[in-house]
């Protein structure tokens, strides 16, 4: 078991002729929380999506827990993983989306129990019990049988977090989890994430919440135009940024 959870080396990603990631190098250790900041279009969401292979990288190497994402290496050659192998690896990585993406035809509890039952083969009653616990933990113990449409954005996002946690992932990816929420609902979601960080979950969080980054992150990364402009402790990057681009960005959002 390596200490390193995520390792990116010169990761490149293009959509057609548009190069979105132009050489990303970074490392996330087990149990660490990394916050990724940057203006929209800087490639931070794309990078996050590459980590669980929702996007395919074009060049460079990206590995999670010591294994390449989307490929197997043998004899100096890369072999593409089959669909079920990719799926098995995705099951170990939780992802929370900006727009929640809850399954609207299922209740909160059904959303949370679906993955364990169908992917991990957990018995239905066990999965439901565990789902209830998780929903209680994010403060939604009274919304088990509510459909997403009747939940507020903040409640939906907390169900989405519980849904990802139900798979007992070794890594959690958050793609702007609070950007689509009303300001007064952001706090509950951040609380749930804070709790998760305290429990030792390895997390990569793309966010605009500077307060959260300052308080929770072990490492802050500032991205712009597909490259990492600077990274380091929250105090260093947010407190005394070395790069002009970082300073300009922070002066606008702080």
């Amino acid at each position: 078991m390596s200490e390193l959870m995520v390792k990116a080396e010169a990761v490149h990603k293009s959509f057609g002729r548009l190069e979105v990631l132009r050489g990303i190098d970074l490392e996330v250790n087990r149990g660490e929380v990394m916050c990724v900041l940057g203006p929209s279009g800087s490639g931070k969401s794309t990078f996050l999506r590459c980590i669980n292979h929702l996007e395919k990288i074009n060049a460079g190497r990206l590995s999670v827990d010591g294994e390449l994402v989307g490929y197997r290496e043998a004899g100096g050659k890369l072999y593409e993983l089959r669909e079920n192998e990719v799926a098995r690896k995705r099951a170990e990585i939780g992802m929370v989306f900006q727009h929640f993406n809850l399954f609207p035809h299922m209740t909160a509890l059904e959303n949370v129990a679906l993955g364990p039952i169908r992917v991990k083969g957990v018995p239905r009653s066990d999965a439901r019990n565990r789902g209830q616990q998780l929903l209680k933990r994010v403060g939604l113990g009274d919304k088990l049988n509510t459909y997403p449409v009747a939940l507020s954005g903040g409640q939906q996002q907390r169900v989405a977090i519980a849904r990802a946690l139900a798979m007992e992932p070794k890594l959690m990816l958050f793609d702007e989890p609070t950007s689509a929420l009303d300001p007064e609902l952001v706090g509950d979601v951040l609380d749930a994430m804070r709790q998760l960080a305290r429990d030792g979950m390895t997390m990569i969080v793309v966010t605009h919440e500077m307060g959260f980054a300052r308080e929770v992150a072990d490492q802050v990364v500032f991205m712009d135009e597909g490259v990492v402009v600077e990274s380091g402790s929250p105090a260093a990057v947010l407190g005394s940024p070395r790069h002009e681009r970082t300073r300009a960005f922070l002066s606008k959002v702080l």
């Binding site: 669980n52 929702l54 669909e83 079920n84 799926a87 098995r88 690896k89 995705r90 099951a91 170990e92 990585i93 939780g94 992802m95 989306f97 727009h99 993406n101 809850l102 399954f103 609207p104 035809h105 299922m106 209740t107 679906l114 993955g115 169908r118 992917v119 459909y147 997403p148 449409v149 009747a150 989405a160 849904r163 990802a164 798979m167």
Partner: protein, 310 residues
């Protein structure tokens, strides 16, 4: 009469507003016109000699007619089953990244939507004149069995093929529209849970697509129910043909057409009810409140609310 200034002494809440509602004389006039026209139409139908209501009553539950009703129900069910199954397969093929597979689906839909159903039925009925013997075996290779087309494609098989294959083309487009209506984020969320492509389709995409697929499919079923009458042209004994057999002998054409019209109406009405319940089943999780009931809409007629029917 209460005014809004009066307040409940205990709660401090103002009294409910009791205003004089806006009157809608136009709605009442329109309703009266419609009722008068409707009543005169009904009167002329009931009193017209040509309908021979006595004969209609006599044949409504005739065993030959009832047999035709059952045949029509059975044919509708089977043809829709073939059509829906084929439609789902074709819709999935259309989404395939393989251009040959998606192209084949496109070609199928293009052909079966582009030629008249009646022509297709006649074609299947006459298939034996085109291919007297049907070779089943390795493509371009030796045949394993070679039954005669007439023994394989019976009248029933010709009707089922004609109706089902044609329906498949229409259902494919309906199912495809359903798939497209499900946001891509749903697939991504399911992928990130580690679900397989088949699981995503079955547990996440299809149940949501159903909400879009069901109403037009109900429409297709109602069309199918009536399109089965085309089978009469190739001598398949369903409802229409059983009536034709009777009136070709006794010349009571109009009353028998009325008899089968009544049956078609009864059957489509049953389908309406079925569709209502299926729609409600797949609408779960998409609406907060129940839709206003018919009763509430009727009550709204005389009131000022926007829910009036006129």
């Amino acid at each position: 009469m209460a005014t809004s200034e009066q307040t409940d002494k205990r709660t401090g809440r103002p009294d409910e507003i009791e205003a004089v509602p806006v009157r809608h004389p136009g709605r009442w006039i329109a309703a009266v016109i419609v009722l008068v026209v409707g009543a005169s139409i009904i009167k002329s139908i009931v009193t017209a000699k040509g309908f021979q209501w006595g004969v209609v009553g006599h044949y409504l539950f005739d065993s030959r007619i009832l047999h035709g009703v059952l045949a029509t129900i059975w044919l509708t069910f089977l043809a829709m089953a073939v059509g829906i199954l084929l439609g789902v397969v074709l819709a999935i093929m259309r989404q395939s990244p393989n251009p040959i597979v998606s192209g084949a689906s496109w070609l199928y839909i293009w052909f079966f939507r582009g030629t008249p159903l009646l022509v297709q039925l006649l074609f299947w009925f006459n298939i034996a004149s085109l291919f007297p013997v049907i070779n089943l075996g390795v493509p371009f290779g030796p045949a394993l069995v070679s039954p005669h087309a007439n023994s394989l494609v019976t009248t029933f098989a010709a009707v089922l093929l004609g109706l089902g294959l044609n329906e498949g083309a229409y259902m494919a487009e309906i199912v495809r529209a359903g798939f497209l209506s499900v946001p891509h984020g749903q697939t991504e969320a399911a992928q990130s849970l580690g679900m397989s492509r088949l699981q995503i389709m079955r547990l996440v995409v299809l149940p949501q697509a159903m909400r879009v697929i069901v109403p037009p499919t109900g429409n297709e079923t109602i069309s199918m129910l009536k399109n089965t009458s085309l089978a009469s042209t190739i001598t398949y004994v369903e409802l229409t043909y059983s009536a034709q057999l009777i009136y070709s002998a006794n010349f009571k054409t109009i009353p028998l057409l009325v008899v089968i019209s009544i049956w078609y109406l009864v059957l489509t009405s049953v389908l309406y009810v079925g569709q209502y319940f299926i729609e409600r089943r797949y609408g779960r999780g998409f609406t907060r409140a129940e839709r206003a009931s018919m009763r509430a809409r009727w009550l709204g007629m005389g009131r000022g609310g926007g829910g009036g029917i006129a």
